[in-house]
């Protein structure tokens, strides 16, 4: 080492821990608070649910734990087989259709792309029950097209065929979104290279398009499978005597008050969800490097015959979607199905007034609004603290894991865990049980992951040195957060708020265990109406909930436009 012009030869002492500014302490306190919230709203209930499944049976019984009990019950094993069967079938049907639709959207020049896409995504805004109810009106015992269904060789709509068909409608938009995103990422240079070498279209498709979208395909298949196996509303409405795990959980817990076996069934639901979550996580990791920064975006070129074929196919799918919605609307307006089809508001009026659905709708609105506000705030806080907070690496990693976990937990499992956790006599939070606050907490946690990931993506797009620059200018982080980070993220925030709102409006699975008579949300009310045999009333309410979701989405769209004009002026060059 060369001699250094340093006048201080004494040994440097070890640096003590750096002092923290009080504003950083504030951020760390927020981090801890958020982790605590996720522990209470996620880890606690999950642990309680797990614990319940392994509790030994009551005294006098010679059997071991609840698992052994369960596995001795052939009826429940049959449900497991049924669940796997319908979920696999749904996946096998939805993925090719969604892939073709996504391919048409991204790789053809067919007309009306936006409209077709909008229609295909409609089921996202409706309770999943809606497609099941509409199916009953189409193909049920008094259905309009019952004979056509019989002619196809099915006995009736109730059971596996109905579940699969309804799940196809409900899961289609989820698969479509993932596949559209996967197919949109294409490097035009690969296709140009293939064309330059005179590659035939089929070989080009098999060697470039499919490999490029394979991660999207895996991801979409896993999501579809998980949605189908954990869904509860559709089998409840159209399942008939065909039992699946999700309905078993409900029957065991609500019907027979058998919490232990209910917990075991819910754990069996958790297993495939966790498995698909892990596979998806691994797949996503490998996809990161798939498209380089220098790629040229592929722009489709007009091919009249191909475009027309694609338009016809997408039109057909969109028509089916509309038929589903249209039937629900039509049936909800029919005076007395199938004898008097004259339109009237009777079912709406009786549902809102007699069945107290008016209160339920208000509850749903409160729940959705509170979830949108709290969920967006919590997801942003989580994403911000994870991405922008200096230090505390261990806590931030913990937060990241906690934020990813809800994706792997089916709503039924979460809701059941809430019962065990918050209804436990020793829990100081027992007071929350059956309150609206608990419903909000549960819904926020249930849909947390997607909101979190969206905002993490938005925050990662922002220069990482803003906080450092602010510190050097002696501006505390929250001021930069308020003046810079939040305004830049506003479009993403609105997106996340809309996502929370719509899902809170339509969700059934978690809240079905947690509502009290005075906090019953509309989506659960639909289930109750259907249970009571008032299918027309259920249809009316499902349409109403969908209408609210659509209206809310339009409002968010308008708010987004307004925000863009007000706060995103800087984007224009």
């Amino acid at each position: 080492m060369p001699a250094l012009p340093l006048p201080c030869p004494q040994r440097a002492a070890a640096a003590p821990r750096p002092r923290t500014a009080w504003s950083d302490r504030l951020a760390q306190a927020a981090l801890l608070a958020l982790i605590a919230l996720l522990c209470v709203g996620l880890l606690g209930p999950l642990a309680a649910g797990l614990g319940q499944a392994f509790v030994p049976a009551a005294a006098g019984s010679s059997t071991g734990d609840a698992f052994a009990d369960y596995l001795r019950s052939p009826a429940l094993l049959q449900s497991l087989a049924n669940s796997l069967q319908v979920s696999l079938l749904t996946t096998a049907i939805v993925i090719p259709l969604a892939f073709a639709f996504a391919y048409a959207l991204t790789r053809s020049c067919m007309p009306f792309k936006r409209l077709l896409r909008g229609v295909a995504l409609l089921p996202l805004l409706a309770p999943s029950l809606l497609s099941a109810i509409a199916l009953i009106y189409w193909f049920g015992n008094q259905g309009l097209a019952r004979e056509a269904w019989r002619a196809l060789g099915f006995d009736g709509i109730y059971g596996a065929p109905g579940i699969v068909l309804a799940e196809c409608f409900a899961t289609f938009p989820h698969a479509l979104m993932i596949l559209t995103a996967a197919l949109a990422l294409a490097d035009a240079r690969l296709y140009e290279a293939a064309d330059a070498m005179g590659t035939r279209p089929l070989r080009r498709f098999l060697t470039i398009t499919l490999p490029g979208a394979q991660y999207g395909l895996v991801s979409a298949a896993l999501v579809t499978f998980t949605l189908a196996i954990t869904d509860f509303g559709i089998p409840k409405v159209v399942g008939g005597n065909f039992n699946v795990l999700a309905t078993d959980v409900f029957k065991l817990v609500i019907g027979q008050q058998d919490f232990r076996r209910g917990a075991v069934a819910s754990l069996l639901l958790l297993a495939p969800a966790v498995l698909t979550f892990c596979i998806d996580h691994l797949v996503r990791r490998r996809q990161a490097a798939a498209l380089g920064a220098r790629a040229v975006v592929l722009a489709p070129r007009p091919q009249p015959a191909f475009d027309a074929a694609m338009a016809a196919f997408c039109g057909l799918v969109a028509l089916l979607m509309l038929a589903m919605f249209g039937m629900a609307v039509f049936a909800s307006l029919a005076t007395l199905w199938p004898y008097n089809l004259a339109p009237s508001w009777e079912h709406y009026a009786s549902g809102l007034v007699d069945a107290e659905m008016g209160d339920a709708l208000v509850n749903s609105l409160v729940l959705a609004a509170a979830t949108a506000v709290c969920g967006t705030a919590a997801a942003f806080a989580g994403a911000y603290l994870q991405e922008k907070l200096p230090g505390r690496a261990a806590l931030r990693t913990l937060l990241r894991l906690l934020a990813m976990l809800p994706m792997a937990v089916p709503g039924l499992v979460l809701g059941l865990g809430y019962i065990f956790f918050f209804n436990a006599p020793g829990n100081p939070l027992h007071g929350l049980y059956q309150t609206m606050a608990l419903l909000v907490l549960c819904t926020v946690v249930h849909f947390y992951t997607t909101g979190h990931l969206t905002l993490v993506t938005a925050l990662r797009a922002i220069d990482g040195e803003f906080e450092a620059v602010s510190a050097s200018l002696k501006v505390p982080f929250y001021k930069t957060l308020w003046r810079v980070t939040l305004p830049i993220c506003l479009p993403a925030l609105l997106d996340v708020a809309r996502y929370f709102f719509v899902n809170a409006m339509t969700t059934v699975s978690a809240v079905v265990f947690l509502y009290a008579p005075q906090t019953r949300p509309a989506s659960v009310g639909i289930l109750n109406l259907d249970d009571a045999g008032d299918t027309a009333g259920a249809a009316a309410m499902a349409v109403l909930v969908s209408a609210v979701s659509i209206a809310a989405s339009l409002l968010f769209l308008l708010a987004g436009r307004w925000a863009e004009r007000r706060t995103q002026r800087w984007r224009a060059r």
């Binding site: 250094l4 821990r17 706060t567």
Partner: protein, 398 residues
């Protein structure tokens, strides 16, 4: 850039500006006795990886310092430790007599400019520059005047109403500079500020940066991997490699008297010749015998030990060889194998007689090319400037 703005700065920072004006670049090499910014025994580890090891450094008030080194050498980490954005594993720092080792960034006194500019995209240029002023409870008019003054200072008068996205990269970097200078910081930290710019803009902005720093007299540390940038800008250069300081010195010292083979290789072009020490500063290199000047590293090499001899391509004499050159230059001859055209100069690769397998690069200006008849295949007679030779022990194989 205009004079009144500079005067305003001069009043505010009279000490700094005074020191700078009283300190021509030749004497800037000797830092203030105590060191305005002092680093002592800085270590930084990331897990098992040692990013910085035993960094000791003293920087004088008003100095322009460049941290120079290849990527991954720890120079940016060191800058971030000075800024408080990264915590050192060991070691202490003082700035202006105050210990800052444990202070969070907000309690230190510096302005910083990043390679990415890090301008707030949703705020106008004026709001960006005023960002650090706004929370000092100054009247709005005073802030506005200050912003306009700063924008004039960086050569962007009247562009306060624009948004960053409407400006070119060079303009954005000027705004970032104005923002960093707005609060009249005691220390200016620049993290590769010119690396993201086009070559021409970079050279232009380099000159302006130097002028600005001279006028304001603000102590400045710039991280760069561009040796040309460091050589033209810095009062002193800190050459770093693998987390340690290889050498600290003026640009001329770094170029002429590299302290290690790494510095000689990294800064400028150099010929590296394999040689064997013969004692008394004599070396045998092929069939040539060369003698190093005193204090050029030859003293530590025992007779018979192997060594590298470093020589810059311009350290040759050609044409009329004066007989009274120091160290009696050894006359050589060689054949030009290849020419590399660099614009104003050319590099000629020669096979030197008596030096097989060790081609030598010599530099000629374009005029000299014609004057001495340097062409491929031609034989040249020349002499090596032995007084410029530097000797280093051959590193032992691991």
């Amino acid at each position: 850039m205009n004079a009144p703005a500079a005067r305003a700065f001069g009043v505010e920072r009279s000490a700094g500006a005074g020191a700078a004006s009283a300190m021509p670049s030749t004497t800037a090499a000797t830092p203030a006795a105590a060191g305005h910014l002092r680093l002592e025994g800085i270590h930084k580890r990331f897990g098992a990886f040692t990013a910085l090891e035993q960094i000791d450094l003293a920087i004088g008030r008003g100095e322009f310092i460049c941290f120079l080194g290849p990527s991954g050498c720890g120079k940016t980490t060191l800058l971030r430790i000075i800024a408080g954005l990264e915590a050192q594993t060991r070691g202490r720092l003082w700035q202006g007599g105050r210990e800052i080792s444990q202070l969070p960034p907000a309690q230190r006194d510096y302005g910083i400019v990043f390679q990415s500019y890090a301008l707030f995209p949703n705020l106008s240029v004026a709001d960006n520059v005023a960002y650090g002023l706004a929370n000092r409870r100054q009247p709005r008019a005073a802030i506005q005047a200050r912003v306009e003054e700063l924008l004039q200072l960086v050569g962007l008068p009247g562009s306060g109403g624009k948004y960053p996205a409407q400006m070119s990269g060079g303009q954005q970097q000027r705004v970032a500079l104005a923002r960093a200078l707005a609060t009249s910081p005691d220390l200016l930290l620049l993290d590769e500020p010119l690396s993201a710019l086009d070559a021409i803009v970079r050279v232009h902005l380099r000159k302006e940066l130097r002028d600005l720093q001279r006028r304001l007299g603000v102590t400045t540390i710039m991280v760069t991997h561009d040796q040309e940038e460091a050589l033209t800008l810095a009062d002193r250069i800190v050459v770093m490699n693998h987390g340690v300081i290889e050498q600290v010195g003026t640009p001329l010292q770094i170029y002429r008297e590299p302290a290690s083979p790494f510095v000689a290789d990294f800064v400028g072009k150099a010929n590296r010749l394999r040689a064997v020490a013969e004692g008394d500063r004599w070396f045998r290199c092929g069939s040539l015998r060369l003698r190093c000047a005193e204090g050029h590293g030859a003293e530590g090499l025992a007779a018979g030990s192997e060594a590298w001899l470093y020589l810059r391509p311009e350290d040759r004499i050609i044409g009329r060889l004066p007989s009274d050159l120091p160290g009696r230059p050894g006359p050589c001859a060689g054949t030009v194998q290849r020419l590399e055209f660099l614009g104003g100069t050319c590099l000629a690769e020669l096979d030197v007689e008596g030096l097989p397998g060790q081609p030598l690069l010599l530099q000629f200006s374009l005029n000299q090319m014609g004057e001495f008849g340097v062409q491929e295949g031609r034989r040249l007679e020349f002499a090596l400037r032995e007084d410029r030779l530097r000797a280093f022990a051959l590193p032992r194989p691991h």
